[in-house]
Subunit: 462 residues, 2 copies
């Protein structure tokens, strides 16, 4: 519905098919290689070939934020940008703490050499790795104390990232191709697609609209959008997003306690996506680590995107407790640290300056105002559909409203709404077969556009 | 040597072992799981277990830039940051062109629906994917025209990234675990380590200091730091960095022509890393695409890190020609687009604003000044070691000087220099067995620190 905003135009009287569009489409249309074209002898990664035409709709765009970022946050980023032009303010890799890290390195090297030269190089080098882990200690500490105070998550359990989507993919690289995974159905498509890319799945089965070797945990109005765990097959990894995208449903404390228990009995690892936690209005947990024992079976991915409007700025984090161990006792965090060191160089130092401002007292207040604004949008959308007699789910704890069109194809409904109102919603089946019959309406939008969209919904479905 | 800068202190008279350091070290020391600790039943990814203690030294840090970013660039980023607090200046996913993309979507949707509803959803959705590819058209075009004018690389061949290291890892995810790879020896460790993580290699063989199933292409003074291709085994992928990190050597046009020919005969794909291309002083190619036919066998990874001091800001790109095809004729770029859409959400919009300023006329001039400054440092370091009778390589076309200590262990030399001068260099063997006997000296440093380091080198080796 963000996109709604810019899409709330009346249909142009003459629709041009601009070169721009053709240009873009060109890059999609399978550039049929001419028969004479040179081909390398490298085989295409068969996992990529498994992927369906999807990443379906412009999911990220349609879940995009629209409201300006609070000034307390942008001014911090602006200041940081300018500072990079000064000798004292410049920092390279590692950001924010460049100087501090270097000083630490100095002390450390001097210290280790003062012990017993020749200090074993292997020890020295492995220590240096961590000493230079590309995270910003200051931001790590601030995130830990802001979101995990009293939950036992410490500064060095936090890995600052360029966003949840990137970290989900890095987690899949961490797990490798030999794990099995479960996912809520419906759910954010990146979990399944990244699993396919890493080779954890079988082929797509068109009859059931599922990939082989993935456990789809059906979430419906009938089960309160929480899977019936007694019917769920054991997997190594369980992706669980709460509040959920797209259903907007937040699992209760009792439900998450059952989930943690389920994981513990099965020896599974929960990848908990809490990107919408600030939207929770009731007493549903904001973090999986509020559940006793979760630190032994769960890690948590989160993001500033939907709190501060950082979808373009790119900043998030992953929290991995020290208690989370592989079957051989090896700590998962240690391998993830290696992944991050090898495959990533940290989030932009300017974005990290923004992150620090986000979790300042003033920043938190400003983020709550942004979240509150979107929640007002949500209420408007919920009221609209309910007044039209639709059964509506979600919304209370999330910026997404999950509207039921029983018996109808969600793509048909999407098309109907698009054609008749020129408002873009998201067809539920794009989030998995369990989304069939639903349409997701996003509350990310300028107020006037949300109101206009709702006015048109009322005309269409009155 | 950047790190050099901050390390150019005299040894403190009393060395404290601060809690900070202990804290950091703690996270390295294998947290020996207590016998009673809960363990999940998830097996550790065996590829991670293959990795050696390395990512050895704080490679990224020691290759870090030190000079302030030119103001023409930081002011663009600062402005962009502030603009994010305004209704007109705000953009979310996709950055820079948010509004424009939305307009395109609108036209496109209206257009496709005006054709023949119900327009086949699969076609529609696959088109939308590309329409919303999270790249910034404006920056893509600017990079294409700045670095690839007349080389046949177009705007839509450019994928903007958060840096070369991240893209190397995404390329490995693209290739998957069933490819074979070759790498210059010595070379930037991320190629090999990411290959190990993706499962392309065998175990590390301690006797030869190599991973199984990787072709190490030896680069020595004897072969002019260009591999003897007649002895190189065919692989699917060939990582090739020129100007090279660590040897500082830039391959000539004739050598790269042979490399492209070699790839073509073998049906291999060259991943060409040109992160140091702006440091080239002679007529060595700045891009692999200067070589005729390269577009059928090569892609190119590059970065603003070493041009504009963006090591902390994070911005780079990968160029993938449309002519680069898998054995079945499928274009590699199309799969990479999918990887980027699923595993990444684009570089920070603020960094991208900086990138646009980088490739403006004023920005290019400013970057040349930064590069020129570091090249003066290089000359000072080269002169120093040559005056001491060392054989010195690299430096001419790169910010790295490759100093030969024949017959000595590079870690011993590193230790000697560190202990006696408190200057951090990089032991050559950290870049592969071919780096043994060498030390890499980086030219990234404030002038006074480079001069001080050279003064100490002269005292040590006079």
């Amino acid at each position: 519905m963000i996109t709604t905003l810019s899409l709330l135009f009346s249909r142009p009287s003459s629709v041009s098919i601009p070169g721009k569009i053709n240009g873009v489409v060109k890059c999609v249309a399978s550039p049929s290689a001419e028969k004479t074209a040179y081909k390398t002898k490298v085989s295409r990664n068969e996992n990529l070939a498994k992927l369906q035409a999807g990443y379906l709709f412009p999911e990220p765009r349609i879940g995009d934020t629209t409201e300006p970022i609070p000034e307390v946050i942008t001014s911090a980023m602006s200041k940081r940008s300018y500072a990079l032009s000064t000798v004292d303010g410049y920092s390279g890799y590692g950001a924010e703490q460049g100087e501090k890290v270097s000083n630490d390195l100095h002390s450390f090297l001097v210290w280790s050499y003062s012990l017993s030269p020749p200090y074993p190089i292997s020890v020295l080098s492995s220590r240096l790795v961590c000493l230079f882990a590309p995270h910003v200690e200051q931001l790590r500490a601030a995130i830990a104390s802001t979101y995990y105070a009293d939950l036992g998550i410490e500064e060095d359990d936090i890995f600052v990232s360029d966003g949840a989507k990137s970290d989900i993919s890095r987690l899949q690289v961490l797990f490798g191709s030999n794990v099995t995974m479960a996912v809520q159905d419906p759910s954010y498509p990146a979990y399944v697609d990244s699993s396919v890319i890493l080779g954890q799945t079988g082929q797509f089965q068109k009859d059931v609209e599922k990939y082989g070797n993935i456990e789809y945990m059906r979430c419906t109005p009938e089960n309160g959008f929480f899977p019936d765990l007694s019917t769920v097959r054991r997997t190594d990894i369980i992706f669980f997003c709460s509040p959920n995208n797209p259903t907007g449903y937040a699992a209760s404390r009792e439900q998450l306690t059952r989930l943690v228990q389920f994981a513990k009995e099965n020896g599974s690892i929960i990848v908990y996506d809490s990107a919408y936690a600030m939207y929770v209005s009731d007493d549903s947990p904001r973090s999986i680590f509020e559940i006793p024992g979760a630190k032994e079976v769960a890690l948590e991915v989160s993001s500033f995107s939907k709190y501060a409007g950082f979808t373009g700025v790119r900043l998030g984090w992953t929290a991995i407790p020290k208690d989370l161990l592989y079957s051989d006792g090896f700590p998962l965090a240690k391998d993830f640290n290696r992944i991050v060191c090898t495959c990533f160089n940290g989030a932009s130092n300017i974005a990290q300056a923004g992150g620090l401002a986000c979790v300042s007292a003033e920043g938190i207040k400003a983020m709550h105002e942004v979240v509150g604004f979107y929640k007002e949008n949500t209420a408007i959308i919920v009221d609209t559909f309910e007044s039209l007699g639709f059964k509506v789910y979600g919304g209370k704890n999330a910026p997404y409203v999950w509207v039921h069109f029983p018996g109808r194809s969600s793509w048909d409904v999407f098309s109907e709404i698009l054609e008749k109102t020129h408002v873009v919603t998201t067809p539920g089946s794009g989030f998995g077969p369990g989304g069939e019959g639903f349409v997701r309406v996003s509350a990310f939008g300028h107020r006037e556009n949300v109101l206009e969209a709702c006015r048109r919904f009322k005309q269409l479905y009155k």
